[in-house]
Symmetry: C2
């Protein structure tokens, strides 16, 4: 019904964003064109800059525009500990706790054979090489506690069997402020099994 192909291709392009369907894509398009042309221009440029300039850190695989990211090139971090996370956002969450001062490795995914994601896709070869080439004493497996995250942790554990490196998994249990009445039974069962002596 609408004639403008330019508008239509903008709407189609906006639909690539997760959670944006035809209706909200149209709403977003009109918003950008009518009320925030400056923001739209910045957005267009930022996307193209990011696609052009952002690469992966040679060491930890996180996004960076340098060859080696800030964390990996920092002198203040403990180079003997490495924390393995699935996504850059997980790394960010870890950093926000201010409780971890070691290095990272970002898998950029998790093992998921059905989606065609195998060991190669999550850069496990690079991880192994990284661990072998540096003096790592502890590996913290901080993948998610989902089926795929657990499988990924298990796979990495098997892969590094025999290496004289301490391997740990972040703890499972009730969240801070968690109430037993409202927690799922799986978590509660695990919290009982992994109870700690006081």
């Amino acid at each position: 019904m609408k004639d403008t192909e330019v508008l239509q291709s903008l709407v189609d392009a906006l639909k690539c964003l997760p959670g944006v369907g035809p209706k909200s894509a149209l709403r977003l398009a009109y918003y950008l064109l009518q009320r925030n042309r400056k923001g739209a221009d910045t957005l267009s440029q930022s996307i193209s800059n990011a696609l052009e300039q952002l690469g992966h850190c040679k060491l930890c695989n996180d996004f960076t525009e340098q060859e080696v990211c800030k964390i990996c090139s920092s002198q203040k971090r403990d180079v003997h500990t490495i924390c393995i996370v699935e996504m850059p956002s997980d790394l960010l969450m870890m950093e926000q706790t201010h409780s971890y001062k070691g290095m990272y490795f970002v898998l950029m995914g998790r093992l998921s054979p059905l989606d065609g994601v195998g060991p190669k896709e999550i850069h496990l070869d690079r991880l192994i090489e990284r661990i072998k080439s540096s003096e790592i004493r502890e590996i913290i497996l901080a993948t998610n506690f989902t089926a795929e995250g657990n499988a990924t942790a298990q796979y990495i554990k098997e892969l590094l069997k025999g290496a004289e490196i301490k391997m740990t998994r972040i703890a499972r249990g009730l969240p801070m402020g968690g109430e037993i009445e409202y927690i799922d039974s799986g978590t509660l069962a695990q919290a009982v099994v992994e109870r700690k002596q006081l």
Copy 2:
């Protein structure tokens, strides 16, 4: 904590979208960079194309890349009726009813003095000129039934007082499938006042 300024500016730019806060902006940025680089590229180009090429139709004020849009240049439309809507999305909704075959005028807003939107901002001068320069016999006021939409309709009505043109407002009442039990009392009162003889 993160070093990459390029990533940060992408996140900031994504925050310009309505309903996108810092957390979802980060999620969107990672999504574009990791899982949909092609979509991201298309998005960036589509935005910049749209900003460059899309202008307003000389007649109806809707977005178009031509000087006069498809509807305004169509030979099949009734040029004696003009429907005034607030936004391009309202025009689209009208078109989807397939029940209206006249022309349009898109205000690109509604009167809202508190937000600094006066008669000039919603192009009323162009609307008046358009109506005067063509043989309009009926003006359908299809602004929203909000306070601002009603005020806009009222203002346009006053503005065209004295002109020998039929002026109508789209009907208020219960929606299709509407149940009296669940309708708000304002709508119901209006439906009673504007009752039609059978």
